[in-house]
């Protein structure tokens, strides 16, 4: 048996396997890299298309990016819709903390600060209760379209249980509360950074 072979033999065999499979994976990475980038770009385009109506732009929003500092100090990418060189809407990711971890959303806002659309991108909320924030499960998320910081007034940007005007779901308050809060923060972020977002490109 191999029990009496010196250690370097085993080390060499393990090394050869690691090297060989390492090379194979590196080459596969090279082959797939461009395609994967393209797929991610398509995904981004598809998610932007949900929150920015096609009619208001003649550019490709996924390609018109402005990087700002978000509330948490991290970079936040803002995608811009333009028509004839004028910015007609912006979309950016927002986040709230739900019942079972972060809820990521994408939100579109027009230059006057009205919501063009909001969609949930990633969440882990309880199926059957918190997942009604998903467009596929319920139309709850569509009610935000057209609203802005003044409509309803800022102190009504809460779920009904907290004295606001938005319905929570039966059995789930934390999830809609997180989403409403995230959207309100998003609108405030827009208001605070409006100038930079709407600035025309040279």
């Amino acid at each position: 048996m191999s029990l009496h072979r010196p250690t370097y033999v085993h080390a060499f065999i393990l090394g050869v396997f690691c090297f060989g499979f390492g090379i194979l994976i590196a080459s596969l990475d090279l082959v797939t890299r461009e395609d994967i980038k393209l797929r991610q770009f398509e995904d981004m385009q598809a998610s932007l298309a949900k929150v920015i109506p096609l009619a208001i732009h003649d550019n490709i929003p996924a390609e018109d990016k402005v990087v700002l500092k978000g509330d948490d100090g991290k970079d936040l990418t803002v995608y811009r819709a333009t028509k004839g060189g004028k910015v007609t809407g912006v979309a950016f990711p927002i986040q709230g903390s739900g019942y079972a971890g972060p809820i990521r959303l994408m939100m579109g806002v027009d230059p006057e600060g009205r919501i063009l659309g909001v969609r949930v991108a990633m969440f882990k909320e309880t199926p059957g209760l918190g997942d009604k924030i998903d467009e596929k499960k319920s139309d709850w998320i569509l009610r935000f379209t057209g609203l802005s910081l003044g409509n309803p007034p800022v102190d009504k940007w809460k779920v009904k249980k907290d004295g606001g005007q938005f319905d929570q779901f039966s059995g789930a308050t934390i999830t809609p509360r997180a989403v409403v809060g995230a959207i309100r923060n998003g609108l405030e972020f827009f208001a605070a950074n409006k100038a930079q977002m709407l600035e025309a490109r040279k």
């Binding site: 085993h10 396997f17 596969l28 797939t32 994967i36 995904d43 309880t126 059957g128 209760l129």
Partner: protein, 224 residues
């Protein structure tokens, strides 16, 4: 020592089923069986990795020394998982959106590793490949069954979103099994995974006893 194909098929699908008998791979079993479609997707991805890993280990087994076999096995499983992950992301992106979450979990599944150790490292290439294929198929069956029970009890549907995984031709699989909106919620929550798996394991044992099969103590099979 060579195992007949008949035994390989029977062992994989029923007699020595990875989940219901060997009780391996519990992490993906619990995590990915909220719906029948998720169970099926996780099972199919695992099946592919198991068949390919068994194949490679059986080919190279003459060169892998006993002392470093475990790192080499893990390397091979991780290699196939990465291949499936990258290829799926680049060229089968719709499928990737459904399965992408599950694929990296396969590395943490000890069922593939177990089959490499007890089967592929001792048997010829073809039987090893078949073992991976049928152990994977048994795993898929068990996960789909657990997922189906949890989905019907928990949200009243069966194979919801199956057409996203398998293509539009499989739309017919998507059923509304029970006329309820939110059912027995605990079935889709983590405790439901343990409950349903336990009930299915017990059910399989009852069937085996009825069929007069001797009860194996603990994991049955090839010298485990």
């Amino acid at each position: 020592m060579t195992t007949s194909y008949r035994t390989i098929v029977r062992d994989g699908l029923w007699d020595n089923n990875g989940v219901l008998c060997q009780m391996l791979g519990m992490c993906p079993t619990m995590a990915m069986t909220g719906t029948a479609t998720n169970g099926l997707g996780m099972g199919l991805a695992t099946l592919l990795v198991m068949a390919l890993s068994n194949l490679l280990v059986a080919i190279f087994r003459g060169y892998i020394t006993h002392e470093v076999r475990i790192p080499v096995y893990i390397l091979i499983v991780a290699f196939w998982v990465t291949v499936v992950d990258l290829a799926c992301n680049a060229w089968m992106h719709e499928l990737y959106k459904v399965l992408g979450l599950f694929i990296p979990l396969i590395v943490s599944n000890c069922l593939p590793l177990g089959r490499l150790e007890v089967f592929a490292s001792r048997e010829p290439v073809m039987p090893s490949f078949m073992d991976g294929l049928f152990m994977g198929a048994g795993f898929t069956l068990a996960l789909t069954a657990i997922g189906a029970v949890r989905e019907v009890l928990g949200q009243g549907t069966l194979f919801a979103d199956a057409s996203l995984l398998l293509g539009p031709a499989f739309k017919f699989l998507e059923m509304k099994a029970l006329p309820i909106d939110a059912g027995f919620l605990v079935a889709i929550l983590p405790p439901g995974g343990f409950l349903v798996t336990g009930i299915l394991v017990a059910g399989k044992r009852i069937l085996d006893i009825r069929a007069g099969k001797p009860l194996a103590d603990g994991p049955a099979g090839h010298g485990v």
